[in-house]
């Protein structure tokens, strides 16, 4: 059926992966057939504030917003765009969670932080500055999820419920074919040594995999490629803080040694390196703590 909606794509900043993921969708042509395109900005420079202002308020049926919000100017643009659109999709990990950019919120004492602070902008997920109606997770969003979004938003008579996330509410594990042995976590392993057994659950083998805390819908592509899930689709529906969730689960997998001092368990937990880069790779900016603070440390 033809799509009579007015739509727009806006990537304020970011790496360009999101616009490619949309462009490559097999349903793209169908979606565009009959649609009005208000604008298609793959970088902020494609579009000025004036140009956006010329669009009627609520004149866009669906606006797809990609890239992080990272300063006063981008907050203002996001708010302006919100006025113009009936429905806003946070498209991709940056808009959804802050994405890899969010790690800059946590880097201590770096030049980056000073620069960001001067600019009045930490990385924020889109939902922190405007109401977001739908979320398309992923870095970049996997094809299956893009397809689902296009179908539900543009090619279906029913409008998805506000709050719909075009991914599974369950974790990646639900889609992973690896054999799960329920092994205790006694040693953290990395790609220093030989790569993991491709048939057995990565956590079972001691590799930190964010599959359990991360929304599925991707088909477990990374574990399929014999690499752990790094969490790009954000936390599953039941938790608020993705990093906290994986950390509590990892700690739970470490068997109690019987020694109440916990020394042996701590040795295992201490061997987890780069906690933030591992547990909050994409979600630091949308974590409950949001960014690094100065607590007299």
């Amino acid at each position: 059926m033809p799509n009579n909606k007015t739509l727009a794509f806006y990537a304020g900043s970011g790496c360009g992966g999101c616009s490619q993921s949309l462009m490559l969708s097999p349903s793209l042509a169908t979606m565009l057939d009959g649609a009005d395109i208000a604008f298609w900005a793959t970088r902020s420079g494609d579009l000025t504030e004036d140009e956006i202002s010329q669009v009627d308020d609520k004149g866009i049926d669906v606006l797809m917003f990609a890239g992080p919000v990272d300063g006063e100017a981008s907050v203002a643009t996001a708010k302006l765009l919100r006025r113009k659109a009936k429905r806003v999709v946070a498209y991709g990990a940056c808009a959804h969670l802050g994405g890899l950019c969010g790690l800059t919120n946590v880097i201590p004492g770096a030049k980056l932080r000073e620069l960001a602070e001067k600019n009045g902008g930490f990385i924020r997920p889109l939902s922190a500055v405007i109401d977001v109606d739908y979320v398309l997770p992923g870095c970049p969003p996997p094809q299956g999820m893009v397809e689902r979004m296009l179908k539900e938003l543009f090619l279906s008579d029913d409008v998805p419920d506000v709050g719909t996330v075009f991914a599974s509410s369950k974790g990646v594990c639900g889609e992973c074919d690896r054999k799960h042995l329920n092994s205790p976590l006694e040693e953290i392993r990395r790609f220093h040594a030989a790569p993991p057994d491709p048939d057995i659950c990565l956590l079972d083998q001691g590799y930190i995999c964010l599959g359990p805390v991360t929304r599925g819908g991707c088909g477990a592509v990374c574990p399929e490629a014999n690499r752990p899930c790094t969490g790009c689709a954000g936390p599953v529906a039941g938790v608020l803080d993705q990093g906290g969730a994986i950390l509590q689960s990892l700690a739970s997998l470490v068997p109690l040694s019987g020694d109440v001092s916990g020394e042996k368990e701590h040795r295992v937990l201490d061997s987890i390196q780069d906690i933030v880069g591992t547990a909050y790779k994409y979600s630091a900016a949308s974590s409950l703590l949001k960014r690094r603070v100065n607590d007299g440390e």
Binding site: G244, L247, A251, I275, D295, G296
Partner: protein, 141 residues
């Protein structure tokens, strides 16, 4: 650092209903006062306390979090307190990365009969959090 004299810390205490919660009750029964800064949330076991609970408490304005359960080796649920302690141990490492002083979380193991120990722990923790000053987390929105 802020003016600590006028600063009244907000402290959430997750207390195991079998032990430290009972110790807090005993403080009451024995009329042993402790700072009113501490608000108690009863839990079945400190092993029930999730990362979301701790981080939510910070996000909602807690300056300190006291986690009180059984003494090590005495958990009713076969080491639930130790499992909880391992989770907090790891979470504290993340807090540190976010610049939050991990001293804002303290774990204690206090038996139900140890009212005095709870009183002292409550006093000490409140004083320590007062010295640390307000948590910067909430103003982070």
């Amino acid at each position: 650092m802020s003016d600590n004299k006028s600063f009244e810390p907000k402290i959430i205490a997750f207390l195991c209903k079998w032990t430290t919660y009972a110790a807090a009750d005993l403080c009451g029964v024995s009329r042993m006062p402790y700072p009113s800064n501490i608000s108690i949330i009863k839990v079945n076991c400190t092993g029930e306390v999730t990362a979301d609970m701790i981080l939510t408490a910070f996000e909602k304005g807690a300056d300190g979090i006291l986690i009180g359960g059984c003494r090590p080796g005495h958990c009713r649920y076969e080491g639930g307190n130790l499992k909880g302690a391992n989770r907090v141990y790891l979470l504290k490492r993340a807090l540190k990365e976010f610049g939050v002083n991990p001293e804002r979380i303290r774990e204690v193991g206090i038996a139900g009969a140890q009212g005095l120990i709870f009183q002292r722990a409550a006093e000490k923790f409140t004083a320590d959090i007062r010295a640390l000053g307000p948590s910067p987390v909430m103003s982070n929105a």
